[in-house]
Symmetry: C2
Subunit: 357 residues, 2 copies
């Protein structure tokens, strides 16, 4: 067995749910799933119920995370039409601000160019600004951020024209970073084998040409995120299936399998699952933290053995190679390959300054 010792991974794009949507996931189950996937820090999206677009909701989710999180975490603040003037004051408490320029789960979509421009201008430059932006909105977000003299992070890039535009902008010196998700790198809409409802995800699954372009532009992809977006089987089988895939417990194995196949190196993987997200999102070091992986272990994802409350995985039955066998977080064994040992409430907020070393 080839045993690898790797740094604790960082997932900059997780939907934790909790509070009014705890049946889908909460801070307990989401962070257990993260640890089982080798991820020791998650950054959580604000399209929650209630949405994290004001101080009251932020405080509620901070309290929920503090009470239940088993791994370290940050919260994103959500940009909206109603918080253009107030958002900036919350920057010291959050990992960044997320802008929804395209439709997804929840009600945070901003249509007006003016909102994009205003949020870009007002959000503190030292705090990350992220965009769910597809098609023309990728270009719009890049230009608005550039004219505001600040950086922008494009979430879950999924299309050929988007990654090509991002690559060209980076070549010209624009401060643009981006992430991709496993489902956009390893699946297409036609070959996914998922039933209607289950295959709904935003951005949608794409074409072989899109997937090929993403792989061809690996050098322009800073982070591998999961966009872990749990919904239950009943919801995915309903008349209006919500978009989203769970992904925390399969991501590393999918990337390790690709590495085994020679599609990327382990260094490529670690840059995108640790070094780059840590730099882009200004994350503190986690002392005495590492994960151990059996690089040769072949296994097949099985939702009945997962910690996520979603209860299904789009990668069911895939033959993966590489499995997390232990996670040590701040000197404590947090996952032993079978059980999550870290207790709810032991995770720390990356924005809590007492945590910085």
């Amino acid at each position: 067995m080839t045993r690898l010792r790797l740094p604790g991974l960082i997932d900059p794009h997780v939907h934790v749910r909790d509070l009014n949507q705890s049946h889908k996931e909460d801070w307990d189950s989401a962070t257990a799933a993260a640890l089982a996937g080798g991820i020791t820090t998650i950054l959580a999206m604000p399209n929650t119920q209630p949405p994290i677009t004001d101080g009251a909701a932020l405080a509620q989710y901070q309290a929920a995370a503090q009470a239940r999180a088993r791994c370290d975490y940050g919260l994103y603040f959500g940009a909206g039409p109603g918080n253009v003037e107030s958002a900036a004051r919350f920057a010291p408490q959050v990992a960044g601000m997320k802008m929804y320029l395209d439709s997804t789960f929840g009600d945070l979509k901003m249509d007006a160019l003016s909102l994009l421009v205003e949020h870009c201008a007002r959000w503190p430059k030292e705090s990350p600004l992220l965009a769910h932006a597809e098609g023309h909105h990728v270009a719009s977000a890049i230009l608005a951020a550039h004219l505001a003299g600040r950086s922008i992070h494009i979430c879950h890039v999924s299309r050929k024209d988007e990654i090509e535009l991002i690559a060209r902008a980076r070549d010209k010196g624009y401060a643009v970073t981006c992430e991709v998700c496993p489902h956009h790198m390893f699946m297409t809409l036609d070959d996914c084998g998922l039933a209607p409802g289950y295959l709904e995800v935003r951005p949608r699954l794409a074409t072989p040409a899109d997937v090929a372009a993403l792989w061809a532009h690996l050098a322009d992809i800073d982070c591998f995120a999961t966009d872990h977006a749990p919904h239950t089987r009943a919801e995915k089988e309903s008349e209006k299936p919500p978009p989203g895939f769970p992904g925390l417990e399969t991501a590393l194995a999918l990337w390790l399998t690709a590495a085994h196949q020679g599609r990327l190196t382990l260094e490529d993987l670690l840059a995108r699952m640790h070094t780059n997200p840590r730099r882009i999102f200004n994350l503190p070091e986690q002392p005495d933290t590492w994960i151990e992986v059996d690089a040769d272990c072949e296994w097949q994802p099985d939702a009945s053995r997962m910690y996520s409350r979603a209860g299904w995985t789009p990668f069911v039955g895939w033959r993966l190679r590489g499995r997390v066998i232990a996670v040590t977080l701040r000197g404590q064994l947090a996952y032993d390959g079978e059980r999550v040992l870290a207790q709810p409430g032991t995770g720390r907020d990356v924005m809590n300054s007492s945590y910085s070393v």
Copy 2:
């Protein structure tokens, strides 16, 4: 009477129609209307029926214009999904290429970011590239052109956030020019007084805040276009009224009235109706060409006395000050204040090299 002698005006945004839509307008009636409005050069949009997106249609409209135009003209080529590879070869024959990124009359809308990027990359840099772009698409068009290392002209800007973005991009050195139309500078949706159907225009009439922002950014507005877009009364009163206003015969008087009111200077007007469009669209000089205006004449637009086949005007009954009393085109009296004297077929194509002086 204050008699002004001005250069022949240029309208870079006219829908001439003709061929399958000659009942709305043709090269004869459109150019007669232009001359009656003091305009000696019009640049004609490609969302015709058939659309000017290939060589065959271009040749048809060139022949129609050559046969019927009474003033000088250029044709725009239309970008589409089907002519990414072929468009550039037509650049020497046209005044520029128009990209439709938002919905308007006709079927030329391009949705994909990839089409915008590809057309920006392939259209010859020395030929103008124009975009009907609203909201986020303004940003997208500006960035795509910039990354392709070329200029872009944003048509009929109508919103506060759009002109502010354009102004900021110009400040940062982006090669962006733009135009506004009288109906977006002198009307709002609420005060237009137009019946449903008649008030349909793209971009839509806006708000007082939008109008105020356009005026505040006059320095960033290069051209005054009309977006003359004739549809008949019957069409505007139909169940699916097509968007568009006629405007060739009222534009100069509206701007002169604003000048009389002190909202801009005559120099501002001439820069935007002659000097700037001539420079931006690389137009040849028209020798021995000028217009004469009675700057004190007060009059009210009356469609029954107009040359456009639209048969109505959104400015009916407005009290305007300043009226064209004569147009001389290449030494010939083309309009005497009552009658258009220039004959069909005497207009010249600005791209015909034999015309250059």
